[in-house]
Structure formats: C-alpha cells, structure tokens
C-alpha cells in the first residue's frame, strides 16, 4: 500500500468579507480530511467557488488554514502550477520565465539555461522580448504551460492547466502532461473536465461548498457527480 505524502485533518479555512472583528466569515474549506498518497494522481472536481483553488493553495503551503492540521512528509515540496504563475505584466517573456522558474526553486543559472527550451516549446520566440502585457491570453497560457513543464517538485498541483492554445498546441500539451502523470510524480489535478479527470486520475475528490462530498475511485466519484448534476438540472 502507498504511503501518504500529505494529510489533511479536519482542515477549515475562511475568508472575511472585510477585515476586522465585524467582518463576516465566508467558509471556503470546511472540515476537510483526506490523504494524498505517494505517486498517485488525485483529481479534484467541483463547481465554481467550491474551494478547489483554495485547496491547492493549502496544499502548496501558500496559505495557512484557520483550523485543523496539514501534515507533510519531511522535505516535501509542493508546487502550484497555474497558467498565470504570478506573471509580472511589465516584464518581458524572458524575465518572466526566469522569475517563475526561480520562484519554483530552480537555481538562477539553471533557470537561464531553460529560457530557450521554454520559448521554443511555447512557440513564442518572435515575442519573447516583449512585455507580457502585449501578449494575448493564449500566448500567456502557452508560456505558463511551457514553464510548468520544467518544474520538478515532489507534489505537482495543476489548476486547470489543460486545453491551452490552438488545436496543435493542445495535442502537444496533452501528450506532455500524460508523460508527467504516467511517471512516479505525485499530482493533484483540478479540472472542470470529467474527461481529463477520467483520463489521468486514479482517485478523485469531489468538493462541494468546501467540504468533501465524496472521495474514491475516479469512475465511482464521476458517476455520482454526474448523477448529482443531472438531478440539480431537473429540479
């Protein structure tokens, strides 16, 4: 049996509508308990605002919960990869590549050596020296995906990172991600696409209003999720 690399124990988190003691609490994650196992690909599904992105930020240790405990195996580094990667719009593509890779823990020399690889993969050589604010949404997404591929953390957290760019790039990115997922890498994949979850994930966590609605085999969870959606549409 696989050992857990990360454990959530009754984790809860709220955002306040406004700061101060009178701000109403908006619970985004409520009493969430689950284990993330070594080498598994865990899918996370749920409606918009269910708490999926907040869950990834908790997993990445970017934010702290208000209550509960998150246990991490010693020296485990979880890296959140989204399509924006915290880009700085006034910097050009090259600077953003270096900044993003360094913020993911790569030494600056190594980050610089990857500029060409990332640029070629993203097919952005013609605009790479221009400020990011001049890029289209698709170009930024391609750059984000190409940078994300260079990351090698212990736990990879992917937030809606598939379906980027035109058809050719989608095929290329899909193939690259399949390679990552099929390796021994531990991955948490958030997606609205059931097909993506079904294709890549062994287990799936269904979140609703910040709580765990169901956790189990992907096919079982997706069946229950679709049935729930169908019921909601009929009522």
């Amino acid at each position: 049996m696989k050992k857990p690399v990360l454990k959530f124990d009754n984790v809860s988190l709220f955002y306040k509508n406004r700061l101060g003691i009178f701000g109403a609490k908006n619970w985004v994650i409520k009493d969430l308990t689950f284990d993330l196992l070594h080498g598994e690909v865990l899918g996370v599904i749920g409606k918009n605002g269910a708490g999926k992105s907040t869950l990834l930020r908790l997993l990445a240790d970017i934010i702290a919960p208000n209550s509960g405990r998150i246990w991490r195996e010693e020296n485990t580094r979880a890296q959140l990869l989204t399509l924006n990667l915290g880009f700085i719009q006034d910097l050009n593509g090259v600077d953003n590549i270096v900044l993003s890779l360094v913020s993911q823990g790569l030494p600056i020399k190594h980050a610089k050596s990857l500029i060409e690889t990332v640029t070629d993969y993203a097919e952005l050589a013609h605009v790479i020296r221009q400020p990011l604010r001049t890029y289209s949404a698709g170009q930024k997404a391609r750059l984000g995906f190409a940078i994300a591929l260079q990351a090698t953390p212990d736990v990879l957290l992917l937030d809606e990172i598939l379906g980027v760019g035109d058809k050719d790039f989608q095929e290329k990115s899909s193939k690259a991600l399949a390679e990552v997922v099929q390796s021994e890498q531990t991955v948490v994949l958030v997606s609205h696409s059931s097909n993506t979850i079904e294709k890549y994930c062994q287990r799936t966590l269904w979140i609703e209003q910040g709580s765990c609605k169901m956790l189990g085999e992907t096919s079982d969870v997706l069946d229950a999720y679709h049935a729930n959606q169908a019921t909601a549409q009929n009522t």
Binding site: K16, I62, I63
Partner: protein, 212 residues
C-alpha cells in the same frame, strides 16, 4: 509640521542654507523613498503571492536594497560637494559608513513595519505620504534643531532622522567629530522597529495571501 512652522522656519540664508539643505534633503529622501515604496510592496505582488510561497520579509528587504543602490550613486556627489564647495576636510568621512549602515537598518525597520501593517489595514497606505512629510518637517532638514526652544526640541528629537542628519552635517559640512552616543537613539529605534516589523511579517506570513 506645526512645530516646524510655528517656531519659525527661518533657517540660514544664502549659499550656506543651500548646503545645509542639500545635506539634509538628500539623505532624508532615501528614507522617504523606502517608506513610501514599502507601504504597498506586499499588495503590489498579490498575483505572485497567490501562486508561490515567499517569506514576506523578502519584499520590503529587496525594496530597501534597490532604493539603497540608487542612493549609493548619489553619495559620491555629496562627498564632492563637501570637498569642493564646503571645503570640508575628508579626514573623518569614513564615519559616513557608520551613518549609512545605521540609516540602512532604520530604513529596513520602518519599511518592515509599514509593509507588514498596510495589507492588514489598507487605509494606512493613504497616510504614508503624510507620515513621510511629517518625517521631513520634524527632522531638521530646513532648520537647525538646536535653535528651537527646549520643549519643541524634545519633541522633534523623537524623530530618529534628527540625529542622523546632524551626523551627516557634522561629517560633511562642519568637520565635527561624531560620537557613539549620536547613534544610540537611531540604532535603538531601528532595532525596535525591525523586531516589531519582522515579528508581524512572520506572524502573518501565510495569512497575507488570504487577506490581500
């Protein structure tokens, strides 16, 4: 500001006053730039903080260091004015290093405090400009603090920049010795603000991305 104007902002006149002003205004500008740019340094990096974990002290620290680099470019100019226009002897200019280090720590302390508190109470960013102006008018940039009445002087000397500007002028204009006791208050102020700022930044380290 009230104290500065109500007790007469006369200063000296002519070129002496210009030299007096330069050796107050330029060093103070360094502290003001650090204070003002550090106020929003965490909120400005909101996008990055939501994606990647960074210890939050990194932001005000790098901000102060980048302002310091700009200031270091001006230092030779200050020394040149001191040597060629004031005809001050450069023999004790090495004390300038001690003054710069003290002011650097003071800037770090002030920047840590303001950077740590603005994400929690964003309205403070609106009064940072006023604080900065208050810092200028009470620091003796325009007048010699020693010419103020005793009770006004006691209040003005709560501003740590008063001692530092006096040190700058003693070294670069008047060729006066600088005593260790001149650094006592600015160093204490820097140490306390550094401690408070660093503790606040540490406490809210993983809470800032939730609240900004």
């Amino acid at each position: 500001m009230y104290l500065a104007f109500s007790t007469g902002l006369r200063g000296n006149s002519g070129s002496d006053f210009f030299i007096f002003l330069i050796f107050g205004m330029i060093p103070l500008k360094w502290t003001q730039s650090c204070l003002q740019s550090s106020a929003t340094v965490i909120t400005r990096n909101k996008g990055l903080l939501g994606q990647v974990y960074f210890p939050k002290w990194v932001f005000p620290t790098f901000n102060v260091l980048s302002q310091t680099l700009r200031y270091l470019v001006v230092i030779p100019l200050l020394i040149a004015i001191s040597v060629f226009f004031v005809e001050s002897s450069p023999t004790n200019d090495w004390v300038l290093i001690a003054i710069l280090i003290t002011q650097l720590f003071l800037n770090l302390g002030i920047s840590y405090c303001v950077a740590s508190i603005v994400p929690i109470v964003p309205d403070i960013s609106h009064i940072v400009g006023i604080i900065s102006m208050g810092l200028m008018f009470t620091s003796g940039v325009f007048f010699d603090i020693t010419t103020r009445p005793e009770h006004v002087r006691a209040i003005l000397e709560l501003n740590p920049m008063v001692d530092l500007l006096r040190c700058y002028r003693n070294v670069l204009i008047y060729d006066q010795p600088v005593l260790l006791t001149d650094f006592q208050y600015p160093i204490s102020f820097a140490f306390i603000t550094l401690l408070i700022g660093a503790a606040t930044l540490k406490y809210f380290d993983r809470i800032y991305p939730r609240i900004i």
